[in-house]
Symmetry: C2
Subunit: 228 residues, 2 copies
Amino acid sequence: MSRKTGIARPSLHRLPIYYRRLRQAIEEGVEYISSEELGQSADVPGSQVRKDLSYLAEYGRPGVGYEARSLAALLEEFLGLVNDKEAVLVGIGNLGRALALYPGFRRYGLQIVALFDNDPSKFGQLVGERVVQPVSRLTDVVRRLNILMGIITVPAEAAQEVANMMVEGGIQVIWNFAPCKLELPESVLVKNEDLAVELATLSHHITRRKLSAQAADAEPKAEENGGS
Amino acid sequence: MSRKTGIARPSLHRLPIYYRRLRQAIEEGVEYISSEELGQSADVPGSQVRKDLSYLAEYGRPGVGYEARSLAALLEEFLGLVNDKEAVLVGIGNLGRALALYPGFRRYGLQIVALFDNDPSKFGQLVGERVVQPVSRLTDVVRRLNILMGIITVPAEAAQEVANMMVEGGIQVIWNFAPCKLELPESVLVKNEDLAVELATLSHHITRRKLSAQAADAEPKAEENGGS
DNA sequence: TAGATTGTTAATCGATTAACAATC
DNA sequence: TAGATTGTTAATCGATTAACAATC
């Protein structure tokens, strides 16, 4: 049962990047923007942009481009940015605090309505406009307020338990910043955001660069990894 | 557009996830682990894991699996986690502070050796073990210390200028958390980490869920409808 | 009209996975 | 040996992009 016959994953990921570019264009007073120009924001050719947008509707004018305002509105609608999305956040460390206070999320409709931690010394602490509550209340609050989304910024050891509590309360979408895999019912959508994983890919590239910089004079022939 | 024909992009991204799983296995005292088990950590089948690992070397034992310790060591080597990677971080807001203090990075070889901001009230402030310096010193410090990596956590408006200064100092790899596209020489590797972009994809899914939940509202269940 | 750019098709490119002989 | 799991091949699946008639 493949229920995901919607937009392609890479396409969905590019739409917010086009949107970001559109907002900039609007701010600059630009009225029309071409697919080629939109594509530059995501490092793809214009044909890719047109393909991506063809999932939504026909909106461009041949010879002219896309009307920036109306395309932005279309994307806001499709991405659901116009709807308020209430979320809880668990784990008030440095990262949790940063996310709770991140100014860019408001424009995208995210409302973090409750904060939790398991450290009693943090209970009652004010982060932005919200007070930190004991995690023991998590499930109950989620259920009572009918929250659909949870953000996890606890250490890896605690993440699974927190996720379970969230799901028990009815949460359906989890944004997981903890460096671990969560085992949850299939119906729950999990997006993992392990920054160390991203760092590791950069680490690989940096190391290659150093190596090729060292070997710049030595061997003109590109050979495979010599560390056998 | 002929680029390096190294490991495939999706494969490279999965390796750190396997690595994370391996560390866990090692901690639990597991000696051997199968490709199938490793694959579960990244939601891919065993055949995908074996394909990914075949880029590196032959390491598994048919009928047995992979020796956890030696495979972890191989990944550390390939990903360059064993090498120290010195970086500068610019933008000491909440996110910048969180990244500067993120405990998970050390194990991956990242060393943030200098912090910068353009707010005089932050100069001299201590974040972890480092003092915040004025951004006017950025290029110079990068050049003198021979730093290869820069982390950008400034607002979008300031990001391009900061990136230019980094590149002028000799930086080759940039981890960009600002919500904008950076225009830089091709030789510079840029990894964008716009959290709002990720949020937008989640927003899309949440909205679809709400819609289909409403559509399935034929059932007479006792539900409050004032929430939104 | 002449120039520009769209939406869509078809070809290409790349990534995933099932299958299986090899082998521990 | 019998059972398990590897590395690799071949088939499949999906995403990207060049090309072009349509059209503003």
